[in-house]
């Protein structure tokens, strides 16, 4: 007992305090690293490695239908891609799809949030009902819309269109209408997300600013433009970023509703990459398409993040 007491006192006297702290901190760091390592390795194995492997694969010709032609080709897949008309079409479809769904989600979501904010009663109910589409699987949503809603002569939407005097429309068989339909489906499913985020932000806005604005006789429109929108800006930009990243890589709903058709009218880049890889069994080229999609996604979200910072 005495020995140890002397020893620790000696250490305390002879070792500078900062050194002691440094050793402790080092130990703590090691411990933290040990705790983190499994999770980090799992993350590397499940995200980083497949991603690197994807890039690696894109440098090969890997055609299951013609195995004798397989081999390293460097950037050839990307050269082919640049002159592939269907790649550009699908990229354009992706951008149109993403741009319009995100814009619609933000506008409708914000409108709904403003409406609900003014509701005196039943707000809670409205939130519960509104969130329902989000929890459905996109594949299920696709099936529901394809069979119950959009089928000409048999579906609910077509029934409404006929009654509204528009006549029966081939919702999924006409190139333009099919695009409109898949945009509507995605918007229908994901607007509640934008709505919930914006509603939460709206609720946190300070009431006294509005009070002051009212005293200054600012109109409702002025209050919305000068106060609500600027204060909501961070939330809106976040919604745009999150929804854009998801819309760019959308898959399940379009796959079940139109399969990219009619023809290639709703074939987003993701779907084209999937078809090349798994239907046409051209794995190398499919990987190049997936990498292209990755690059597009990174660029667009980079721009959006930059916009968020710029004030």
């Amino acid at each position: 007992m005495t020995t140890s007491a002397v020893t620790s006192a000696d250490i305390a006297r002879e070792t500078p305090r900062s050194d002691f702290g440094r050793i402790l901190a080092q130990r703590e760091r090691r411990f933290a690293a040990a705790l983190l390592a499994p999770a980090f390795l799992a993350l590397l194995a499940t995200t980083t490695f497949p991603l690197l492997f994807l890039v690696y694969t894109s440098a090969f010709r890997m055609d299951l239908a013609m195995p004798f032609t397989n081999g390293f080709v460097g950037f050839e897949n990307y050269q082919v891609l640049l002159s592939d008309e269907r790649f550009w079409t699908s990229l354009l479809v992706s951008l149109v799809y993403t741009g319009s769904t995100v814009a619609l989600q933000v506008i409708i979501g914000l409108a709904l949030a403003l409406l609900v904010m003014d509701m005196k009663r039943g707000q809670g109910w409205f939130r519960v009902i509104a969130i329902l589409p989000v929890v459905l699987s996109p594949a299920v949503v696709g099936m529901i819309w394809r069979t119950f809603m959009l089928a000409p002569e048999f579906g609910i939407v077509d029934f409404l269109a006929i009654n509204a005097g528009l006549g029966s429309k081939n919702w999924l068989g006409d190139p333009t209408l099919a695009m409109v339909s898949v945009i509507a489906i995605h918007t229908w499913q994901w607007t509640p997300f934008a709505f919930m985020v914006l509603l939460a932000s709206l609720a946190s806005l300070p009431e006294d600013i509005y009070e002051a604005a009212r005293l200054d006789r600012a109109s409702a429109w002025q209050r919305f433009r000068r106060i609500t929108l600027p204060l909501l800006r961070p939330a809106i930009v976040m919604v745009i970023i999150m929804r854009t990243m998801v819309a760019l890589t959308a898959f399940a709903a379009i796959f079940t509703v139109t399969g990219g058709g009619p023809g290639t009218a709703t074939e987003i880049l993701n779907l084209y990459a999937y078809r090349k890889s798994f239907t046409e069994l051209s794995i190398g080229y499919g990987a190049a398409l997936a990498v292209a999609l990755l690059i597009v996604t990174i660029i667009i979200s980079g721009i959006l993040f930059a916009l968020r910072r710029a004030k």
Partner: protein, 464 residues
């Protein structure tokens, strides 16, 4: 709390035991039922069924009644051979991809799987599956006199062969025929069409959308087994040749005429929604009485005769696929066959072959069809002899007038094994063509432009 614990444990125990009994009880009963007398028809084959006893193999099938019936009989196979079979059910949309991935990686997960006949060219080019003749000719593995390969429907066999070599054993198959509403046809004094022209005029005569009856319906949704299940037959009937001068050709005057016929009938006389329909949708619409006639797989007969859903039972009749301008009938033929995965060790390959031989044998075919205890009817048995069995004929004719004659006629005389281009690149070609057909149907491109574009896209696939 403590006094509740034993009670709960007992409850769980009892529950588990009951659940186990409920799950395995029927299997145990069936296993007990698989007595020597039951196995006698198999034991008459002069081979040692027990030669690789103790092996376990995994078989991928699709969730369909004709495979369910086979799964039910698996305990008999176990009793006969001592081989354990584990079945994995994968929906048809995914089974091709899953099996291709398994074959590419050479892991041998699936000893055999329900295979698409159009994939054998790909399988054979990669040597992923075994040529079956080695197994058929091996006297220790096959008793040819007992198995009777020649009894298996020749059209399906040739569809599963490449350059005369058999790679997959047909288990269940189909052929396309005309399905029509006899009552509607009789009311207008119409006969089932003998030519594509007559089929069009029949459809015109019966097309009354205001009464919610459309003249015809063909598969419209894009996909290699969807609109590309029907169009290739029309293309061949218009005199089209996939391998014109040794070069894969999908455009040209015959193709344009064929696609024009297809687009014409779909636009004028089919429900608009049919542009996105596959066979179950068509069969559903027909069973609801909204479609007067369709051309599709004979196996959809079970859907339109489902007493719980169909409103047209007793009003259905069948005929062979109409002739085209070339004077030929070319039906679409199809079967689910079983190949042997080359990545397996020898003993497992033998076990797999014994399983395939058992499943494709006349005895098992009969036991899963008219002699099956359950309610489901199999309309795709693989053997000519079963199709001549009075009991089976009786069962099949329950589907409607002329069913067996139309099906057998189509299977024996109207097939053309090259009704689709059988090349390893088929998955890509089929998908490209399917997209082209749909873009012509939807008006996204003209018929000529759609086909020329498909040709442009297909050429580099063939060059390699």
């Amino acid at each position: 709390m403590t006094s509740f614990k034993p009670t709960r444990r007992t409850l769980i125990k009892t529950g588990t035991a009951a659940a186990a009994l409920a799950t395995f009880g029927p299997t145990l009963l069936r296993q007990a039922a698989a007595q020597d007398a039951d196995l006698a028809p198999y034991k008459s084959a002069k081979i040692d069924w027990q030669q690789v006893s103790g092996e376990t193999i995994t078989v991928a099938v699709i969730p369909a009644s004709y495979f369910e019936n086979l799964i039910t009989l698996a305990p008999q196979f176990k009793a006969l051979t001592g081989i354990d079979v584990r079945f994995e059910k994968i929906p048809p949309a995914q089974i091709r991809q899953k099996s291709v991935i398994d074959l590419t990686s050479k892991t041998g997960t699936y000893a055999t799987h329900a295979a698409d006949p159009m994939y054998y060219a790909l399988y054979a080019a990669n040597k992923w599956v075994e040529p079956l003749d080695t197994y058929l000719k091996d006297k220790s593995l096959t008793d040819e006199a007992w198995f009777k390969l020649d009894d298996i429907i020749p059209a399906w066999r040739s569809a599963n062969g490449i350059d005369g070599k058999l790679y997959g054993m047909p288990y269940d198959g189909e052929v396309t025929i005309q399905v029509y509403r006899k009552d509607l046809y009789d009311a207008k004094g119409l006969k089932p069409a003998d030519t594509l022209e007559a089929y069009m005029s029949n459809a015109a005569a019966l097309n009354t959308p205001n009464d919610r009856v459309w003249g015809a319906a063909l598969r419209g949704v894009a996909g290699a087994g969807q609109n590309m299940y029907i169009y290739p037959s029309i293309f061949r009937e218009f005199g089209g040749d996939w391998m014109k001068g040794g070069k894969l050709t999908v455009n040209g005057p015959e193709a344009e005429a064929a696609l024009a016929w297809y687009v014409d009938i779909m636009k004028k006389y089919a429900p608009t929604a049919a542009a996105n329909w596959n066979w179950p949708d068509i069969a559903d619409a027909f069973s609801q009485g909204t479609v007067a006639s369709y051309i599709d797989a004979h196996s959809s007969a079970s859907v339109i005769n489902n007493p719980e859903k169909s409103k047209v039972i007793g009003k259905v009749a069948y005929a062979r696929w109409p002739k085209g301008p070339s004077g030929k009938r070319t039906t679409s033929i199809w079967n689910w066959g079983f190949p042997i995965n080359s990545a397996l060790p020898e003993k497992k390959r033998k076990a797999t072959w014994l399983f395939i031989q058992w499943a494709a044998s006349a005895e098992t075919q009969a036991r899963t069809a008219h002699r099956f205890g359950g309610p489901t009817k199999r309309s795709g048995v693989n053997r000519t002899s079963v199709w001549k069995d009075p009991d089976y004929i009786k069962l099949m004719n329950g589907f409607g007038e002329n069913f067996v004659e139309a099906t057998m006629g189509a299977l024996q005389d109207d097939t053309d094994v090259d009704w689709r281009p059988r090349v390893p690149q088929w998955p890509a070609i089929g998908d490209t063509m399917a997209t082209a057909i749909q873009s012509a149907l939807s008006g996204q491109a003209t018929i000529k432009a759609a086909l020329d574009d498909a040709q442009r896209r297909i050429e580099p696939m063939m060059r390699g």
